[in-house]
């Protein structure tokens, strides 16, 4: 059983469309990060959220941390082919030192 469930697992959309990726858990996380990974490369950090209800924007990407710090979402506006990749959420629970990763959302944006 995944501690962090991501949905959808796969998403294929046309350029210009909007999309939302979800990261859910029954556990509380002290912080949550979103990474993007391209084929043959390691994940690259996009954002860290630490406060319940926090919203962060990174150009066309909007990240939200749930009020109860159990879930998060990533919204992309006007998706572009360069947004294609595997999006991973990862969180820290309690006093743990290591990140727990979600199963990932594979996004494909078609031109």
């Amino acid at each position: 059983t995944q501690l962090l469930e991501q949905s959808p697992q796969f998403l294929s959309i046309q350029e210009g469309e909007n999309l939302t990726v979800y990261c859910n858990s029954s556990s509380v996380f002290s912080s949550l990060q979103w990474y993007r990974q391209e084929p043959g490369e390691g994940p690259v950090l996009l954002v860290t959220v630490v406060t319940g209800g926090e919203v962060k924007k990174l150009k066309r990407l909007t990240f939200q941390f749930g009020d109860a710090r159990k879930d998060s979402s990533l919204h992309i506006t006007a998706a572009q082919p360069g947004d294609t990749g595997l999006y991973l959420c990862a969180g820290i629970r309690g006093s743990a030192r290591q990140l727990t990763f979600g199963s990932g959302t594979q996004l494909t944006v078609l031109p």
């Binding site: 912080s31 490369e41 994940p43 743990a96 030192r97 990763f101 199963s103 990932g104």
Partner: protein, 115 residues
């Protein structure tokens, strides 16, 4: 380069052989992490180091897996008597200090294939 370096980038070996994977973290980063990733999936945590110390080895899948870090820098992950289920991409990351909010900088991984 300034990033995390992993070698080899690809490794193909026969079942039963031992393999050693290397990670060279960003200079000055005291924390180092190893993860395993199956095709298109999320990352499975294996072990972390604070300096040369690995306080928690419970993430290692079996006693065939071991890791060490010397001089607070380079780390090696060793898999003995490899099995086909060990096939995966092994990723290493480092961060300036140990802590949940610290950004982790990843290498490009070692793709391990066990025949």
């Amino acid at each position: 380069g300034a990033g995390v370096s992993q070698s080899p980038s690809n490794k193909v070996t026969e079942k039963g052989k031992d393999v050693e994977l290397r990670c060279d973290p960003i200079s000055g980063h005291t924390a180092l992490y190893w993860y395993r990733q199956s095709l298109g999936q999320g990352l499975e945590f294996l072990i972390y180091f604070q300096g040369n110390s690995a306080p928690d080895k419970s993430g290692l899948p079996s006693d065939r897996f071991s890791a060490e870090r010397t001089g607070g820098s380079v780390s090696t992950l060793t898999i003995q008597r490899t099995q086909q289920e060990d096939s995966a991409v092994y990723l290493c990351a480092s961060s300036r200090v140990l802590g949940g909010n610290q950004p982790q900088h990843f290498g490009d991984g070692t793709r391990l294939s066990i025949l």
